[in-house]
Amino acid sequence: MDATTAPHHIPPEMSQYGEENHIFEIMQNMLEQLLIHQPKDPILFMINHLQLDNDNVPKIVILGPPASGKTTIAMWLCKHLNSNLLTVENLIAKEFSSLAAAARKHYQINKRVPSMQLVRLIQDRVSEEDCVRRGWILDGIPETREQALMIQTVGITPRHVIVLSAPDTVLIERNLGKRIDPQTGEIYHTTFDWPSESEIQDRLIVPVGISELETAGKLLEYHRNIVRIFPSYPKILKVISADQPCVDVFYQALTYVQTNHRSNAPFTPRVLLCGPMGSGKSLQAALLAQKYSLVNVCCGQLLKEAVADKSKFGEVIQPFFEKDMAEYKLQEGGALGSLPCNAVPGTARMLLPDSLIMKVLSERLNQQDCIQKGWVLHGFPRDLDQALMMDSLGYKPNRVFFLNVPFDSVLERLTLRRTDPITGERYHLMYKPPPTTEIQDRLLQNPKDAEEHVKFKMDLFYRNAAELEEFYGQALTINGDQDPYTVFEYIESGIINPLPQKVP
């Protein structure tokens, strides 16, 4: 691309395509492989790499002290992810390999395999077809820092490392109850994991080396080693407590290995905040816009601005507003105060046609600053038709959040809002009470904050919410019933972290 014409206006379709197809990650993986292997013919290598399409196969390392249950977890993960399990035992049991035979001899004498041989065995195994296609799970390897570095040097890098941890006393006790099924190799426990079939029960044997003293010795060595392995896997390591039921450990491990790590891909957030009135959408939108320099697009505000600017849209919209204003004036006969910005007057919305709103919105979203910096949209769409219209015009948000707040909280937040007609200051009787009684006496309530109106709007929202949630399949639901900064942190982590992969 010619860099002399400036500035480039990159069409939004490009960034959308890039995000959906994970182009950055594909290129990054390819570059990594090129650098690790440094093939003489890079183009042929790249063709083969792309054809393999194995960027997302499991590459997991599971470490943990003896009796933490790592073999069990590793086996379960293997079965679930349809991957290959690699342990010291099954590596040296390999047939037709002189390397494995030598390792076996060594193991019989010293009860351990020298690191060089082990790493060579791993290297051979990992380059076999089934590991390349379905990934691998290393159980209990690397045992030491030297092994970790050696594995890294040959280019084997795991994407997830799980370290199980539990207090030593728990582990020593647990190890005493360990039993092995000699036929399948599965590990059972006298208290926690007793097999149901009696024939398995009968053939279980007590493994060697589980006395308290021996376990304590192994634990000592483990602790010495594991501390030095941690720094080798800084960002991909997760510690899971093994002092809980097996199923819980497994569930946590499974969730972790199925998440992608934050990538360096360029990302322009296009955030959609959905929620009933009073859920805090405007506040969160303002916080997001401030922190990440996004454009805060509030639908109601946009329409009001159009009217105020007397633009051509404004002139078309104004009659809808005026009619509504007149209705309000007749009803209340008093000051309106400042209208909350994310509510187009309720009755006007039913009159204001969707296509008109869509036109005003499109005009805003097509502007250069929205395309370049990203946007936060709230107040639209409110039902499936609007969502479909927005989607068909090409405005697809890449993060959607639903803010859930129970009805009572909403009532509390909204019905206690008051405005001071003289200074224009807004107060809340519970969260931001007025400083003097003189002010308090003259406060007025916005008719839109009246209980019946709030209830009406909530019902309206929830009637359409189910369809919207279905339409935006990848939406994240957040508990909005907390203080704003906590909610903001949840939203932030939802934007920054890659979208969770649905479990197949």
């Binding site: 691309m1 010619d2 002399t4 379709e13 490009m14 395509y17 890039g18 197809n21 182009i23 594909i26 290129m27 390819m30 570059l31 090129l34 650098l35 440094q38 890079p42 183009i43 042929l44 790249m46 063709i47 792309l50 054809q51 399409d53």
Partner: protein, 130 residues
């Protein structure tokens, strides 16, 4: 660590030698511009074409297109005569990596115009990427 340093240098040299970064940039740009349904298959197709088009093993500037060539010509032709000298022309070809050492470029006494420059570059580039 010294070992780390030398491996990093090795890696950088490798990237430069095979012009990997330019290749990746080119591939990414093509993908984003064309936006094929199946990005992997499309990438494989482009790479196959590149492989076939690679006559010698030497790196070549497939990432240049017409506007770049024009820009380059304009940069060299600072007085806007419309032509560049033979020496400039030879240097440009060397920069682009298109000037094999054994080819003898005859200096026919006339200055090189933009059209001649463009056609020469095109001729030397693999046809698949015109």
């Amino acid at each position: 660590m010294e070992a780390g340093g030398s491996r990093e240098r090795e890696a950088r040299n490798y990237l430069e030698k095979h012009q990997i970064m330019e290749l990746l940039k080119y591939l990414t740009s093509v993908l984003l511009f064309i936006r094929p349904e199946k990005p992997r298959e499309y990438l494989i197709a482009i790479l196959e074409k590149l492989r076939i088009a690679k006559a010698t093993g030497v790196a070549f500037p497939f990432f240049m297109d017409h506007s770049n060539i024009t820009a380059m010509f304009d940069m060299m032709d600072s007085s806007k005569k419309g032509t560049i000298s033979f020496v400039q022309y030879k240097e440009a070809l060397k920069t682009l990596g298109l000037c094999p050492a054994d080819e003898v470029l005859k200096d026919d006494g006339h200055a090189i115009t933009l059209d001649k420059f463009k056609s020469e570059v095109k001729r030397m580039r693999p046809r698949a990427l015109a």
